[in-house]
Symmetry: C2
């Protein structure tokens, strides 16, 4: 009897023994990229190639069928033509393989004959108690165990480091893009799944699994259509009680819905329906890729906010003004600071600094002014729920040492801090240093405010649930 529910998905992410069916030594073959991924990437387990055309592959004995492998198999990765997947799945069932990722395309997405084939394969798997991700997908990336079935070469798709963001996507192209982007931004990923046609394991199963995954702090999803609406709402609600879920909903517009239909054959729900579903479940809905990564980063690094009062500290008046504008746009409050606090700040700062909110330390700022502002008006002050630290590092007397001040404050605070480092190469360098110290940084005040908005929105959802 196969394990049920959550436990049955474990072999996808933490297999001890893996078979690569369709492994190859030809560089342009999917089965080559995947097999070498497992060989190269220091996979924490055993890997067996399967291909009747070879006896040896990369100095490893190659089997003509999964059934011949002298060990129980946790995970089979299937990268063979669609026409022979049924046969391969029969072998997997006979061998009691626990889980299979079908990378191959040529199923439901190509028309009725493909749909018939997919149904056949699904029935065989079900009868044999084999859980299946796919077909028509990139499969799984788990930097913890080094499971990596993504068949795009490292040059085109850099792998992100280990981290706490889980990424889910029907679309393989989206997954490739977002993983590569995350790697570029240095964002750490806990698990990524491109799940394709969902013949067995679906989005709901994966969200349920990740909700209890100790390596995952935030779940980010790209979705074109949701089936089983009631179950979706129940499962996601349970997930958001544990950790934030961010979703891009594509196909919101009238023409977009038509495009979704021709892309995956999914029926995109109306914008109103999605909004309602997200509202009911506490999902943070986002509009684009950039926002998805921006917010994932915020949730991965910072706690949520328990209230909507934002403190803004800046050394450029204009950037402060734009942050205030953005706060109003996102219905966040920029409260005036206590008169007593302002008197205290006035004693420490030159007279031309603004001690109200936004606190403007002005262009002749030095590191010390940031420390004072952060300690007095944030750490020691109860009147705000979060802080945005704008660092225009072009200021002549400001040095990169300011990042250690931000780190110190972050360590002592239970409230969220985000930074905004705006400018060019030097600013980007400082931003990276800030993030290495646990504080997410954004290149515009607007994007920093949006991150605070998400932390606040989710914090308030949790409060309402409590």
């Amino acid at each position: 009897m196969a394990p049920a529910g959550r436990e049955s998905l474990k072999p996808f992410f933490e297999p001890k023994v893996v078979a690569i069916i369709g492994a190859s030594n030809k560089p342009d073959k999917v089965g080559n990229t995947i097999f070498t991924n497992f060989l190269r990437a220091d996979f924490k387990g055993e890997v067996y190639p399967v291909n009747p055309k070879h006896n040896l592959l990369f100095e490893k004995k190659c089997y003509s069928s999964v059934k011949e492998i002298p060990k129980p198999i946790d995970l089979a990765v299937i990268a063979v033509p669609a026409s022979i997947v049924s046969k391969v799945m029969e072998d997997c069932a006979e061998k009691n393989v626990k889980a299979a990722i079908i990378i191959s395309g040529g199923f439901k997405e190509t028309g009725s004959e493909g749909a018939r084939l997919e149904k056949e394969v699904t029935t065989i798997a079900k009868n044999g108690n084999v859980r299946v991700i796919g077909p028509n997908c990139l499969g799984v990336y788990n930097p913890e165990t080094n499971v990596d079935t993504m068949f795009l070469p490292e040059e085109k798709l850099r792998r992100p480091p280990k981290g706490s963001i889980a990424l889910l996507s029907q679309s393989g192209a989206f997954m490739g893009t977002i993983l590569d982007w995350a790697a570029y931004e240095g964002l750490g990923v806990s698990k990524a799944v491109s799940y394709g046609n969902e013949c067995d394991v679906d989005l709901i199963d994966l969200i349920e699994y990740l909700a209890d995954d100790p390596h995952t702090k935030v779940i980010a999803v790209y979705v074109e259509g949701i089936e089983h609406g009631q179950k979706f709402i129940r499962v996601v609600k349970e997930a958001t009680a544990k950790k934030p879920v961010i979703a891009i909903k594509a196909g919101r517009s009238t023409r977009g819905k038509a495009a979704v239909l021709s892309h995956t054959g999914s029926l995109a729900g109306s914008e109103v329906l999605y909004r309602m579903a997200f509202k009911q479940t506490g999902v943070v809905g986002v509009d684009d890729f950039e926002e998805m990564l921006d917010l994932s980063k915020a949730f991965a690094l910072q706690p949520s906010a328990t209230g909507d009062r934002v403190l803004i500290i800046t050394d450029g008046g204009g950037a402060g003004v734009m942050a205030v504008d953005a706060c109003e746009h996102y219905s966040l409050t920029v409260p005036e600071l206590d008169a007593k606090l302002q008197v205290e700040l006035k004693q420490r700062f030159p007279p031309y600094c603004s001690t109200n909110n936004p606190i403007d330390l002005t262009g002749d700022v030095d590191n010390q002014r940031y420390r004072i502002a952060l300690e007095k008006a944030f750490l020691d002050y109860e009147g705000v729920d979060s802080v945005i630290v704008i660092l225009l590092v072009q200021a002549p007397s400001l040095t990169v040492g300011v990042v250690d001040i931000v780190r110190d404050i972050n360590r002592k605070s239970t409230r969220p801090i985000v930074a905004c480092c705006m400018g060019g190469e030097y600013s980007a360098k400082v931003a990276k240093e800030v993030e290495r110290r646990g504080v997410p940084s954004y290149p515009t005040p607007e994007r920093a405010v949006r991150a605070i908005w998400a932390l606040t929105k989710y914090g308030q959802w949790k409060l309402r649930k409590a």
Copy 2:
């Protein structure tokens, strides 16, 4: 008699002879950075240091007063304490200096005594026919002539290359940030002016000047408050008849207005008033820094669109769907393609490609499919006014050679093309190659659509004017 209007501003940008008043050899002095800017940057003219404390500066004879310089002076750059600026200005007037940039702070922005000083200096300049930019500013950057009075060192503020974007800002911090950012993005600048307190030359004068500047294709402005509303509307309307003007309006929100008041003492107009002024004048209003640079890049590289019908070509269905969603958000049309055209495309593409709009070339795309789609559905097709080319370069068979296809189409087209290269390091590299070939590229479908929206909005403004 001094030249009037436009001609009187020329010495700020194209001076033959420049005096740096307050030049210094001490590395932490503003007068040092500015003087060495002129020495280092291959300034196309003569430069004379003025400072009574020195006889020689960097092996150049140093004068104790501007009056002693044995040549007529086009431009004096003044970087001395506020208290002696009046005296310096008297000398400039006596010497018939045509234009002066007062870098020094300590005037109107510091209170009533500063305001009195500023008025005094302004009167002296006016009586002496000296045009003035400043005080309290970074002044002028013109990569054409290598005038560079920005006193921030290159390490903190990289200078962008020569190009066709003009940048204007009251705020010095904003100017520093945006120049550094433009340099990082490789965006070329024609002229940049941080104009500070506007004691003489104001935003309106500068827009009027740049509207006729042959090196400038687009004018981008950061503004916190507009004075002389009627004149502003008249001048800007004339400017937008010649070239696009983009403006960030800070202080739109209620709390933002208060922050503006404490930042520059300007009275920020209401959002409604600004919107009306922008609508009347054809100014493209934007919300943030990123949008400002995104749209500037589009206008610098591409023609405007004469209609709102957008063609989308993609190799990832999801990205196409998101572009369609964004088009609807920006009130752009994504028209269905002619049946005849679709039949033609179907003959050239595999059956699983979508030949309607968005055209989805799918993940096994090669370069040739992009060429066919761009030729048949854009170059040879009258049914669309612009095209967004989404390149998910992770696709295994797509090579960097696709950028030359985009270049070829761009050369032959009179309608705008923008690209979207999404992903990590490799995508960023391809994006740079695309831009080097004259097509702006953005990292998300949404930002690419926003660029098309601006090109369309401005195109329709011009049509209404014609």
